[in-house]
């Protein structure tokens, strides 16, 4: 590893990391605008045109607010809480293949933080680390409600990890590799004439399980029972003020972004332009860099569509009761995922087995 390569890589990771962090203010704005639209009200429009600078205002507000630390709090874990959630969610970004590759400075740079051959497994493992933030945060703040909230939300998160693992296994079975980049490579071109060669057509149930599970994983609305204002006063982050509280939300939105990125890479062809194959694009646009640019734009477009869906679902679907939620995980999603794997295994056997 000589120095130049190192610097290139670090710059690349910084860029991608900053890009994903930018998602947070955008999402805040989209969320508020979306909620307003659904509830037929104007939403934030004071700060800048269409309230575009509202998120910045919120961010500054969080920065300047006081950060009260309750007395009998377990200091170390209390402070670590929010960051233990933020770290894993930001690590997951490394596995997402944003684009194909770019020729710069005479090198071929992959448009993703790290192209590891166990990317999907990496994604699964690191996402399972997220639980610690909730647990330690809830327990450390020495508050009955926060403890109960932590318990509930962590049991919800871990319960939904298994469906994710199963659907991931399903995808791996189909694509035959853990590397997300390879998966995206396999989703190029056209399928049956009129369909873009996406993974969703092959594993619709897998997509469905993963989609629902990812909702729970990110504590999005239908599943945001643990810190729902009405019941548990804010769940595990009741005791956190100002920026630490904001950290929770940043982590949540980053998780949202990575989740939708995963959905896109697994089922919606990643950075491929639908119906168009890369070679054709290279022919049309000439240089690879331009093609990469188009691919990245396509990737972002797909993600934003999904994000809007997330927001849309959040403000329309009512909240689950906790036991319904658990039942959904253990009673529906896991058996569905298992059945899905068995069915695809058998189908694969018939289509390809000798």
């Amino acid at each position: 590893m000589d120095l130049t390569e190192l610097s290139i890589v670090s710059i690349k990771t910084l860029l991608i990391y900053v890009a994903f962090i930018q998602v947070v203010p955008v999402m805040i704005w989209v969320e508020r605008k979306g909620a307003a639209l659904i509830q037929d009200r104007p939403g934030p429009n004071r700060v800048g045109p269409f309230g575009v600078f509202q998120p910045i205002a919120d961010a500054l507000k969080f920065l300047f607010k006081e950060d009260p630390v309750p007395k009998e709090v377990n200091r170390l874990l209390y402070n670590l809480g929010p960051f233990l959630i933020l770290l894993p969610s930001s690590l997951i970004i490394a596995a997402i293949p944003v684009g194909d590759r770019v020729e710069l400075f005479g090198r071929d740079i992959l448009l993703q933080v790290a192209d590891i051959d166990v990317a999907l497994l990496f994604f699964l493992s690191i996402s399972s680390l997220g639980v610690y933030g909730i647990l330690f945060g809830g327990w450390a703040s020495n508050n009955k409600y926060s403890l109960l909230g932590a318990m509930r939300s962590s049991s919800q998160v871990i319960s939904y990890e298994i469906p994710i693992a199963l659907s991931a296994a399903n995808a791996v079975m189909f694509y035959g590799t853990f590397s997300l980049r390879q998966m995206v490579m396999q989703q190029e071109g056209v399928l049956l004439g009129f369909l873009p060669n996406w993974g969703i057509w092959f594993q619709p149930i897998g997509f469905l399980v993963l989609f629902v599970a990812l909702f729970a994983e990110t504590n999005r609305l239908p599943f945001d029972l643990p810190e729902s204002e009405a019941e548990l006063v804010g769940g595990y982050h009741t005791e956190y003020g100002s920026m630490k509280f904001a950290a929770f939300f940043m982590a949540e939105y980053i998780n949202l972004a990575t989740a939708s990125a995963l959905l896109v890479t697994l089922f919606f062809g990643g950075w491929h332009v639908p119906w168009l194959s890369d070679s054709w694009l290279l022919l049309k646009l000439g240089s690879q860099n331009v093609v990469a640019l188009v691919q990245v734009a396509m990737f972002l477009a797909k993600i934003s569509v999904l994000l809007c869906i997330f927001v849309w679902v959040r403000w329309t679907v009512p909240r689950f009761r906790f036991d319904q939620l658990m039942h959904l995980a253990w009673g529906n999603l896991i058996p569905l995922g298992l059945a899905n794997i068995i069915v695809t295994a058998i189908l694969l056997y018939f289509f390809e087995g000798r």
Partner: protein, 123 residues
Amino acid sequence: MEAFLPIGILFLFAVMLCAGIYVLTNLLGPRIFQKNKLSTYECGVQNPLFETNARLPFKFRFYLVAVIFLLFDVEGAFFLPWALVYRESLQLGANLLIAMLVFSVFIILGLIYVFQNNYLNVD
């Protein structure tokens, strides 16, 4: 092994971000501490009982969820390597399929057992 280097770098950036947040809030945030601010937030209900021992008497259900998650997580994890090699193995015959079917039979048995005694009806 080299592929994991960028992850390390990304980890560093993330740590920098968190440290930044932590430092900024401490620097910028005002420090006006009053007694009730420092007590844990009980939505206004002054209840001495909660003062002392905030740790909730244990809800055993949560422990059970964790245990069952652990075991099913292990079983789920076994699916991953299987999925990886399943497709090629089809050329060599269906023994991997049968193996997995047997494996999933036991998982289903486990699930049925768990549901029968409704260990998971977390209230």
